[in-house]
């Protein structure tokens, strides 16, 4: 199995995230394990400033977001060469509670060689460098969710 056969999917989309379809696309004959992370819209937040969310409105700098997703995938492959397939998806638009908004999935031959850490790293990096923003609409009005990561040169 040559690395150049390893599938990498990255997309910013307004469509529903289909986990079955994405998993099938990053499953190879040599694959035995997948670690998948999804984030969804929380309707009720109890940590920190507790509040209710009616919906979130996501936007992205789409071409840059896809380039940065590719970069996150490259970083994953550099750190965990055992990773076979990678899918990174961000859904944008108006999204209601319980809806999956983002997915990062990594496949590998076995579950004990870092595939969980790879997926965890992927979502952390997505939230640092992929240009996507969300605005929260709730009973008390509209507010942009604030990020706090400042990319460094070369990121």
């Amino acid at each position: 199995m040559e690395p150049f056969n390893f599938p990498t999917i990255f997309s910013v989309t307004e469509s529903e995230i289909d986990l079955n379809d994405l998993l099938a696309k990053i499953t190879l004959t040599t694959t035995g394990a997948a670690a998948i992370f999804t984030g969804m819209v929380r309707g009720e937040t109890n940590r920190g400033d507790a509040h209710i969310t009616d919906y979130l409105e996501y936007e992205a700098y789409i071409p840059m977001a896809e380039e940065k997703m590719k970069q996150v995938a490259d970083e994953i492959r550099a750190k965990w060469p055992i990773v076979e397939g990678i899918a990174i998806v961000q859904r944008i638009g108006k999204l209601y509670p319980k809806t999956p908004t983002t997915l990062i999935a990594c496949t590998a031959a076995h579950r004990d060689t870092g595939v969980f850490d790879a997926a965890r790293y992927g979502i952390d990096r997505l939230k640092e460098i992929v240009p996507v923003w969300k605005k929260e609409i709730g009973p008390d009005g509209t507010e942009w969710v604030e990020g706090d990561y400042i990319p460094k040169p070369g990121e």
Partner: protein, 82 residues
């Protein structure tokens, strides 16, 4: 002069009131100079210029970087996707 395109996102777009702008700038202008210029030309953006993230052709760019000709400049707050 260099012709460039500015793209605003999220809070920066809200304050700018537009999604994008095209403008001509001196050939040796840096990202820092560009932020100073925008602070003067668009007073609404002045406060945002302290914490804005800037990109040149879809790569993060920093104060010393010289803005190239036909650059696509992105301006936005720290990301909050996921």
């Amino acid at each position: 002069m260099n012709h460039i395109k500015l793209l605003f996102f999220a809070t920066i777009r809200d304050r700018a009131g537009v999604k994008s702008l095209e403008m001509d700038i001196p050939v040796d202008m840096t990202i820092e100079d560009l932020k100073d210029k925008l602070s003067i030309d668009y007073p609404n953006l002045k406060e945002s210029m302290k914490s804005v993230l800037m990109t040149i052709n879809r790569e993060y760019a920093f104060d010393e970087a010289v803005v190239p000709s036909n650059a696509e400049i992105g301006m936005f707050p720290p990301v909050s996707g996921g």
